[in-house]
Amino acid sequence: MTAATTVTPVVQGIDLVKTFGRVVALDGMNFELYSGEVLAVVGDNGAGKSTLIKCFSGAQSPDAGEMFINGEHAEFKSTSEARRHGVETVFQTLAVSPALDIASNLYLGREVRKPGFVGKVFRTLDKKRMRSESSAHLKNLGISTLQNITQAVETLSGGQRQAVAVARAAAFGSQVIILDEPTAALGVNESARVLKMIQDLRDRGLSVILISHNMPQVFEVANRIHVARLGKRAAVVTPQTASMNDVVAIMTGAMTVPEEEQQLAPAP
């Protein structure tokens, strides 16, 4: 597809390589995410999904290859650098601090200080503001089951913790939100709520990368599906052009899709 080059991808990776000792996690992976879409990344274990998104979220840096955010060359040495570029990640481990309360977790690593003298000299945190804004963010996402914003995260259920992690990403992500297996540990109702959140995020104009093993969920929310295999991009298809069986066949290498039949960019 040559027509794809007219629109700049929000996130782009070209020939990304990442090795861990003798294990090759990424072997020349190409990747494009366009504005306002939900792109699912699927693949068998060891296909390089997690490593790929860890490169974009700043948790790891690729050995070779180039990354672009909005067409600008990007190199992330830490998650905070990726966050500054508007890329937020909900890690599979959630990366929340159990003993801290919900508001502190939402603002962890980017706390807000009180204005004026007190904040500057005594570095006092503006807890009141962080709490009220945290409640607002949770309400925005339609999470009303969390009664108390000062509750420690360890006292929450799995679904509620997931909601806190998603709310954190949604509150600060200005461009891209990456979700790594967000429904893996959740029940049916909680999964449905997270999928609804993903659609809400897209409706707000954000781009979403969703890593998932759950094909029905992928086909429910994704605009395009990036299939990874052995550290490379095997194909990009859409729920309209491919069936779940096709995707599984591409994942396992039983089927290949010629490039002109792939959806390397969203349909205009």
């Binding site: 159990p98 690593g109 706390e111």
Partner: protein, 350 residues
């Protein structure tokens, strides 16, 4: 049998209903200093019943004076343990700083490695506190740069600091009469009614207030908790865990330096042989005070109460005419009980 709505109501009611034990668990989870506070109050009542001199102002003043060294060092130990570390070198580092101060201030003829001895006492105090900071820098660098466990690093520096003290300053104790007054300033007292308060106790309380504020109300304080709680989560949240851990050891070195000055004030002299129980007493104070040895949870208020429990038990037993062996026994039981309670509190549910 029943409509769907009533089953939901029943389920919700069941969720709401908590046994009294669960409620206690929830309260202790929220206020971890409550259990040590109860222990302290029980001790006070029991020792008062054994000997009513226990609650006399003179005796209570003495208890605060006995707490000051362990209490101040326990602030440093709390910061370190909150990051899931431990500092076994704390007593040795304090002794090194203290001997540096004393030897610099006094014309120490016995110390041939310090040609610049006999300095202005204020300069000596600053230099001693600087040595405290330096011990923290050494511990911090070894832990962060070489990725070694804090237990091993501080076990090693415990020996190193002890040896350096003996090498630099020989085995010579600087006596009270040799010591210039500014060195002993924190050992002065003032009266509030019948209470005799040590300046050092005031300094200790101010330090508890300052570091309590920092832990609770600054980003650095929150990061100390986050790093001890789950270092991977903290790192992924954009916190530089190594920087936080290093800074904690440096800050604890500063506290150790101030504690060294306090010790000279309290004791009046400076001995190169530290109290062998000092290290363990600081850890005991922190643990009895409800701070988790696994990091991430605890309060400085709890540590202060823990330090007070240690001295109250010691003082109360001697007033009651009982053997100090019971103190060791009581502290041992309290430590195990505290860790058991910590494990139980961790299992709290919403």
């Amino acid at each position: 049998m029943s409509s769907p709505s009533t089953t939901v109501d029943l389920a919700e009611e069941f969720m709401e209903r908590r046994t009294p034990l669960q409620r206690i668990q929830g309260i202790l989870h929220k206020y971890p200093y409550l259990s040590p506070l109860i222990v302290l109050l029980v001790c006070v009542v029991v020792f008062y019943l054994l000997n009513d001199r226990f609650l006399l102002p003179q005796n209570l003043s003495f208890v605060t004076q006995q707490t000051v060294v362990v209490g101040t060092l326990a602030i440093a130990q709390t910061l370190v343990i909150l990051t899931a570390g431990i500092d076994l070198s704390i007593g040795a580092a304090a002794t090194l700083a203290q001997m540096m101060m004393a030897n610099l201030a006094v014309f120490a003829t016995a110390s041939n490695v310090l040609p610049f001895a006999g300095q202005n006492p204020y300069l000596a105090i600053v230099a001693g506190i600087g040595v405290g900071v330096l011990t923290g820098v050494v511990n911090g660098l070894l832990i962060v740069r070489l990725n070694l466990p804090p237990f091993i690093v501080t076990l090693g520096t415990l020996s190193i600091f002890t040896a350096l003290t003996l090498i630099f300053f020989k085995a010579r104790t600087i006596q009270n009469k040799e010591m210039p007054d500014p060195m002993k300033w924190l050992g002065n007292t003032f009266h509030i009614g019948d209470f005799q308060l040590l300046y050092g106790v005031v300094v200790m309380i101010i330090m508890y207030a300052v570091f309590g504020y920092i832990l609770k109300n600054t980003a650095w304080g929150l990061h100390v908790y986050a790093v001890g709680d789950d270092p991977n989560a903290a790192e992924l949240s954009g916190i530089s865990t190594k920087r936080v851990i290093f800074s904690v050891y440096v800050v604890s070195g500063l506290i150790i330096g101030i504690a060294a000055w306090l010790t000279i004030g309290r004791v009046g002299s400076a001995s190169p042989n530290p109290d062998p129980l000092l290290n363990l007493d600081t850890i005991t104070a922190v643990v009895i005070g409800g701070t988790s040895l696994f990091g991430g949870r605890g309060t400085l208020l709890g540590t202060l109460i823990g330090a007070l429990i240690i001295t109250v038990v010691q003082n109360g037993l001697s007033l009651a005419g009982l053997d100090q062996a019971y103190r060791v026994l009581a502290v041992g039981i309290l430590v195990i009980a505290a860790v058991a309670i910590d494990q139980w509190i961790r299992k709290v549910k919403a």
